[in-house]
């Protein structure tokens, strides 16, 4: 009997958070043009400029040409950035400017439903950005294997992970300005240290040890072999770290937003 109740409650929770997801998806579909531009034109500029520009000097890295090496890093970073932007600026706008969440809280929806729906949506946006980048890189011949399609579920996890961290930052923010601290002090160093632009082997060993705590590093470790025709090693570990971040920050965001919105 209790199992049945848990099942029913999970279904109800999923259905409530889906209505939040659908609201965001519907808004996105109306403004998809500009949104797509941000989430995939910019990373592609980086890919082609750095890939061709630096690639000339670098030649091949880890057995593939630099641009192929870089493509997987750019896709991972873009999945992270898309969810981060959504979880910071757009979520803050919904919370403080448009008061969308206040409106939702007058319906049967609660803070948990809103956070889960938002995080699922951030995961979805990362998948959309990954699809776009995968398409362009594949057409340009920078993807070595069909197994690259496996990056899509990984992009979903990436989006949920960084989306929930961003939502936590948003829950603590008093204005948009606060986001610069997170972006400059957390996101940028993480991109530079996670093996996006160069192999980690070039870093000092102490730094390499710390990098194992960065979720983006684990994402890159999975995405790179999938896009360059290899097989990711230690897959469970690389899935585990972003998943733990995701669960931890989802619960943190829920409790912080409860304190902020229901007081």
């Amino acid at each position: 009997m209790t199992e049945y109740r848990v099942m029913m409650e999970t279904a109800a929770l999923f259905s409530r958070s889906s209505s939040v997801w659908m609201r965001n998806a519907q808004v996105w579909s109306k403004l998809a043009g500009s949104s797509l531009l941000g989430s995939f034109a910019e990373p592609l500029f980086y890919l082609f400029a750095l890939g061709y520009g630096l690639g000339q000097f670098i030649g091949s890295v880890e057995g593939v040409s630099y641009i192929v090496f870089l493509a997987s890093g750019i896709l991972s970073t873009s999945a992270m950035n898309t969810a981060t932007f959504e979880g910071l600026y757009l979520a803050y706008t919904r919370m403080e400017v448009q008061r969308t969440w206040d409106g939702m809280l007058s319906t049967p929806l609660g803070v948990t439903d809103i956070v889960l729906g938002e995080v699922m949506w951030m995961g979805t946006k990362s998948v959309i950005s990954a699809i776009a980048i995968l398409l362009v890189t594949a057409l340009s011949g920078f993807v070595e294997s069909v197994s690259a399609l496996w990056v899509l579920p990984i992009a979903f996890l990436t989006g949920c992970c960084f989306g929930s961290v961003a939502l936590t930052v948003t829950a603590l923010s008093r204005s948009y300005d606060f986001f610069m601290y997170y972006l400059s002090l957390v996101v940028t160093p993480m991109v530079l240290l996670s093996g996006v632009f160069f192999p980690l082997a070039s870093l000092p060993e102490t730094v390499q040890g710390l990098v194992a705590f960065l979720p983006l590093y684990h994402v890159v470790e999975m995405v790179r072999p999938l896009m360059t025709g290899g097989v990711p090693g230690s897959l469970l570990l690389h899935l585990f770290v972003p998943a733990v971040y995701c669960l931890f920050f989802i619960s943190l965001a829920i409790s912080l937003l409860k304190r902020r919105l229901l007081n």
Binding site: R16, S19, K30, Q98, R99, T100, G103, P108, G110
Partner: protein, 320 residues
């Protein structure tokens, strides 16, 4: 015919059911008690106005009512459900019109109604006929496909009101629904609220406009400093607290005129800013004495809710 009210039109002549019941409700923030053990109950079909200056505890009371904040002490029941424990179930049967518009600016009018209806778990098929009716009700038929950003303030408020009815609520809660609207827009909202009231909907409304409260509400709760100062029908409140007639006088010579006056204890006198108020059942001698004072502006009128409000909550400026 607009039948948004799901509950059958049974007339409970003798004993209408209690929709909201609050017992010794108390709430503090950071050591400051904003609601101090208030008791009230609202019966089905009532339109109850909660009046009070800023900081009186009105908004906190409403937030407790919809389960957005938990009372520190006391018991609260709405639609027969304990709050906040069963707040989700209760909110599925309640409509809320917030003080600040939170419509989705990226959506059209009907998209706003759809997405809000989805939060209640309704699908498109169930919502379609409701939305048509609500657009008619809000006189927004021609605007169904307009972006919300393109609507006037009055239209946005009407849409917010229509949106709050999407779940066919048994209780409607409005937090200052006409603040910032022009007089025409306000009249239209009042008309719609009266219509809902006629259909038997129970309404709780906070407002700063005494005229609004007097016109719409058959029950007024006056709050200040977290307590309930009065709770009665508007006409009873006026009778109980204020003399029947009021003379307001202001103008350049008002001090001179006042000093020359002679009136007995039967006339009560108050001063607010530069206006002088005289309350009593016989003000004829005062009115006669206005003759010849061309610099005076005056108004002779029956006592109203504003007089009650000012008497009960004091005449100081409330800025907190």
């Amino acid at each position: 015919m607009h039948a948004f009210v799901k509950t059958p039109q049974i007339v409970h002549l003798m004993n209408p059911p209690v929709i909201v019941n609050a017992n010794r409700l108390t709430k503090s923030y950071n050591g400051k008690t904003v609601v101090k053990g208030i008791d009230f109950s609202i019966k089905k079909g009532e339109c109850c106005g909660i009046l009070g200056p800023n900081g009186a505890g009105k908004t906190t009371t409403l937030r407790m009512l919809v389960g957005h904040t938990s009372p520190d002490e006391g018991r609260l029941e709405a639609l027969g459900l304990p709050i906040p424990e069963k707040a989700r179930e209760m909110r599925s049967k309640v409509g809320v019109v917030p003080q600040v518009d939170n419509l989705d600016p990226d959506f059209t009018v009907s998209e706003n109604l759809y997405s809000y209806g989805r939060y209640f778990g309704y699908n498109r098929k169930a919502l379609e006929p409701r939305i048509q009716k609500l657009l008619d009700f809000a006189s927004l038929q021609d605007k169904a496909d307009s972006r919300v950003q393109a609507l006037s303030g009055g239209m946005k408020r009407r849409l917010t009101l229509a949106r709050s009815l999407i779940n066919e609520p048994e209780l409607l809660i409005l937090d200052e629904p006409t603040t910032g609207l022009d007089p025409q827009a306000r009249q239209l909202i009042w008309q719609q609220l009266r219509q809902l009231q006629k259909e038997g909907l129970t309404i709780i409304i906070t407002t700063h406009y005494m005229e609004e409260a007097e016109r719409l509400c058959d029950r007024i709760i006056v709050m200040d400093h977290g307590t309930i100062l009065a709770d009665d029908r508007p006409e009873t409140l006026i009778k109980k607290h204020i003399e029947p007639h009021v003379l307001e006088v202001h103008g350049d010579d008002v001090d001179k005129w006042h000093d020359a006056l002679q009136f007995g204890a039967a006339i009560r006198f108050e001063q607010v800013g530069e206006t002088r108020f005289y309350y009593g059942s016989e003000l004829k001698s005062l009115i006669d004495s206005l003759d010849g004072w061309s610099g005076l502006r005056y108004l002779y009128r029956p006592a109203n809710l504003e007089d009650v409000f000012l008497k009960l909550t004091g005449r100081d400026l409330k800025d907190d």
